[in-house]
């Protein structure tokens, strides 16, 4: 019974293609995230949705478009892929982070994207 599941786990694609990564959580959380981990292992937040509403949009190229059809799903679509997009993309979820609450973030297993 996977808590946060994302597909595909591995994705190799050519430059210029469009691809999507899907994510689902069964933890009943109201907030979902996309993080990017680069080759130096630095984990950086990209987007955050709370109850299907975008609340965080870090400085990410607009080729990246998240979509949340409901609070249990957050998909990431990437247009016109570039070599620099190669990274591991992690989906995550939590209850809403408010002030001092400090809710735990649960991560998926990651999607390894390689652009050639």
């Amino acid at each position: 019974d996977t808590a946060v599941s994302q597909t595909p786990k591995y994705l190799v694609t050519q430059m210029g293609n469009d691809k999507s990564i899907k994510c689902e959580q069964n933890l009943g959380h109201d907030t979902m995230y996309w993080y990017k981990q680069d080759s130096k292992k630095f984990l950086k937040i990209m987007f955050s949705y709370n109850n299907k509403e975008l609340i965080i949009n870090e400085t990410v190229p607009n080729r990246f478009s998240p979509k949340s059809p409901d609070k249990a799903h957050l998909n990431l679509h990437i247009n016109s892929l570039e070599l620099g997009d190669s990274a591991v993309y992690f989906c995550a979820s939590s209850f809403a982070l408010r002030g001092v609450t400090g809710n735990t973030i649960y991560f998926g297993e990651g999607s390894w994207l390689t652009v050639v």
């Binding site: 630095f42 950086k44 992690f90 400090g102 735990t104 998926g108």
Partner: protein, 112 residues
């Protein structure tokens, strides 16, 4: 701007010793701090949370301290085992409190 530094990229210690990892932050005062473990090829997994009014937190062989004056957290693993080998990430709430920001991690290797 907010900055989180884990000042050891890698740490190698002998099995049975205590591993101590450091997390320093600047330019803000977080209400809490978290530690996560990440194994190769896996997503980070939550280990411990410590709040600003707590000096120390323990969980089995893990101990975390939080010094808001020094702006530093120490993460200790006592009686370390090879199975403790992983990357450990500290994480703090961002200025907006609606996101968690991660440090770059320390790769810990425990040799038998």
């Amino acid at each position: 701007s907010q900055k989180i530094e884990q000042n050891s990229e890698a740490l190698n210690i002998q099995e049975g010793k205590t591993a101590t990892l450091t997390c320093n932050y600047t330019n803000y005062s977080p209400a809490y701090l978290q530690w996560y473990r990440q194994d190769p090829g896996r997503g980070p997994v939550f280990l411990l949370l410590i709040r600003e009014n707590e000096k120390e937190k323990r969980k089995e062989r893990l101990k975390v301290t939080f010094d808001t004056t020094l702006k530093q957290s120490l993460f200790h693993i006592t009686a370390s085992q090879p199975a403790d080998s992983a990357t450990y990430l500290c994480a703090l709430p961002g200025s907006s409190a609606s996101k968690i920001i991660f440090g770059s991690g320390t790769r810990l290797s425990i040799r038998p």
